[in-house]
Structures are given as structure tokens and as C-alpha cells.
Amino acid sequence: MKLFGVLFGRTKTKSSQVAKERLKLVLVHDRIKVSPELLDTLKGELIGAISKHIDIDQAGMEVTITRGDKFDKLVANIPIRRSR
């Protein structure tokens, strides 16, 4: 069946797996009660605080929430510009 799928270009993910992945994403936000707006605010304030001291790539900055086993994590990915 898998070979059949590959041959005919039908490598569609099972809908149960799609459901699971979508649920995981939606629940991260449901659980933490952090709205996208709040994430944006946080991002703006982080940029303000950090760029006072370090030259960062503001456009490349990402602030997200990821799920862990016991805790959910607020992850900020902040690229620093190289000085040369």
C-alpha cells in the first residue's frame, strides 16, 4: 500500500495524525492562556530590552511556546548580528 501511494504521488498523512498534530498546537495556546497578541507584546518588549545592549536581528526574532512533559516553555530565538 505504501509503495502504491508513493508511485501515484499519494503520500497523504493519515487524518488521525493530522488531528493529533493540530490538537497539540491548539492546546499549547489553550493551556497557557497566552494570546498571539500577548506574544507580540512580549516580543516587542524583549527587543527593546535586549537591543539596548546587544545588536540583534529584529526581523529574525521568534517568540513561541512549546510543550514539554511537565512544563510548557516560552522560547525566544534571538539572532545576534556579528560585529564583522
Binding site: K14, S15, S16, K20, L23, D30, R31
Partner: protein
């Protein structure tokens, strides 16, 4: 001293009332004295699912407001002498009762029963809060669908913040054939997301509709798949270790027998 167990789900239509009626029936069949309480004020249904709708004189709100004594409002089941129903009021709304009333009511019931099962209304508002307030244990029901699982997660979060004992999960209406072809989340998927203890798995079963039509819980007839599943949950509530049957992992005994029957060559001459 009774165990007060609230059955809730967040989302409507996932099987709270069916589960309450069937677990009450299964526990009463095992010799426990059981009261099932319909906390869905304004939208009562536990009475019709159990076939007791014609016997209602007083209801939960009458008891809370002191219009009658608790014993007058309790309806004895037709089939099982140890099973009683406390019906909800139909012409009132959820604000007729508050969590303190429910705690007081259940404390009275505790004296006379081994189990008090409360059928919670859908949602997370007043009615849900009333249903959960007196609970020693909570059973969260979900189906393997995104909307139901999401709402179950919300309920689990609310129960945690209310410092209730960690709820246990019943996965209802699981379709083994859909799980097998990857079109329905299986038990492991749902457990991975909700991360609470599993209490039971109830497969999809047409006999649920038939039994509700007749007002006779399926657990009365242990031969149906759903009936057996509810019997297993009742045994687990009583502390028995009952293994979880595998759904969607290849054909069961019936499927194998059917496969064997079909694999035999058919003698067309004999048929014609």
C-alpha cells in the same frame, strides 16, 4: 460512606448521560446501592435514558428549596432494586442551585448510598460548577475527535486549578475500523495529549441508540460491546484490575471467525 463521582466532558453529546445511566446500572447489578443524579437543570435527560420519565413527581430543585424531602424525590429503578434516580428540574434554570446546595444534597445522599453518580451538563459555567463541587472523583468523557479532546483538556485544566483529585478518562464512541485505517485517533493518541489515567474505552455501538429508544441501559444486557465496556468500567471503579481490550489492532474473535467462514468455498449449486 458513598463515593461521589461526577461525569463531565466540556463538549455536549459525547455520552455523559449514557455513561451515567450505564455505570449506575452496572454498579447496581454488582450489588452496590447507587443514586444517579441529573445535574442538567433545564435540559434533563437521564430520566428518559433510564426509562423513568413517567415516575417523576419531585426533582432536585424541589429538594434544594425544601418543597419535599430527599426520599420523596428519589425514583426507584424499575429493574434494579438498588438503583435510584434524582431527576433534574425541567422548568428551571441552572441558577436555581449553587455549589453549596449540591454539596449539602450529596452529603445527605452519602449516608444511604455506596455510589452517587452525577451527570454534569455540558459547558464550563454554573451547571458544570454545581456538578463538580461535591465530587470525590471526576470522570472526564471524550470521543476521539479534535473538538471533544480539546474541550476535555480544558475541563482537566479547570479541575486541576480547582485542586480536585486528578480525573480519569473514558474514551467513548471509538470506531475500531476507522482507527485501523488511520482515520481516527486511537487510545494512545488521546492519552498522549490529555495525559491522565485511562478508566475505560467504549466502542461505537448501535445498540446505544436502541437502548435509549427503549429506556433500557445497555449495561443490563452484558452481551453488547458497549454494555461490556461499561461493565468493565464499573469493575474498575470497584477496584478490580480489568485489562483494556485492544481496539483497532487486527480483528477480534468475531472478526477472525467471520474471516474463517468467508474463506470457505461457497457451494453455489447447493444454494440454487
Amino acid at each position: 460512606m458513598a463515593n461521589v463521582i461526577t461525569i463531565t466532558s466540556g463538549k455536549g453529546g459525547v455520552g455523559k448521560t449514557t455513561a451515567t445511566a450505564n455505570l449506575g446500572t452496572a454498579l447496581a447489578q454488582r450489588g452496590c446501592k447507587v443514586a444517579v443524579v441529573d445535574a442538567d437543570i433545564g435540559l434533563r435527560n437521564l430520566d428518559v435514558v433510564m426509562g423513568l420519565e413517567n415516575r417523576i413527581v419531585y426533582d432536585l430543585v424541589d429538594v434544594v428549596e425544601g418543597q419535599c424531602r430527599l426520599r420523596q424525590a428519589l425514583i426507584k429503578d424499575k429493574r434494579l432494586p438498588e438503583l435510584y434516580l434524582l431527576p433534574a428540574a425541567q422548568t428551571r434554570d441552572k441558577n436555581a442551585v449553587d455549589p453549596k446546595d449540591m454539596i449539602k444534597l450529596c452529603d445527605q445522599l452519602r449516608e444511604d448510598f455506596d455510589f452517587v453518580l452525577i451527570d454534569s451538563p455540558a459547558g464550563i459555567e454554573q451547571g458544570y460548577k454545581n456538578a463538580v463541587a461535591p465530587a470525590d472523583q471526576v470522570i472526564v468523557i471524550t470521543t476521539p475527535e479534535v473538538s471533544a479532546v480539546r474541550d476535555a483538556d480544558r475541563i482537566i485544566g479547570l479541575l486541576e486549578s480547582a485542586e480536585k483529585r486528578s480525573p480519569r478518562l473514558v474514551i467513548n464512541r471509538l470506531k475500531p475500523s476507522m482507527v485501523k485505517r488511520g482515520d481516527m485517533m486511537d487510545t494512545a493518541d488521546v492519552l498522549e495529549i490529555l495525559a491522565i489515567e485511562l478508566l475505560g474505552i467504549v466502542p461505537e455501538d448501535d445498540s446505544i441508540v436502541v437502548s435509549a429508544n427503549r429506556g433500557e441501559p445497555v449495561a443490563l444486557n452484558g452481551k453488547t460491546r458497549a454494555g461490556m465496556a461499561f461493565q468493565n468500567i464499573a469493575r474498575r471503579l470497584l477496584g478490580d484490575e480489568v485489562p483494556f481490550p485492544e481496539f483497532g489492532d487486527g480483528p477480534g474473535l468475531l472478526g477472525r471467525l467471520w474471516g474463517f467462514v468467508r474463506s470457505k468455498p461457497i457451494d453455489f449449486k447447493a444454494r440454487n
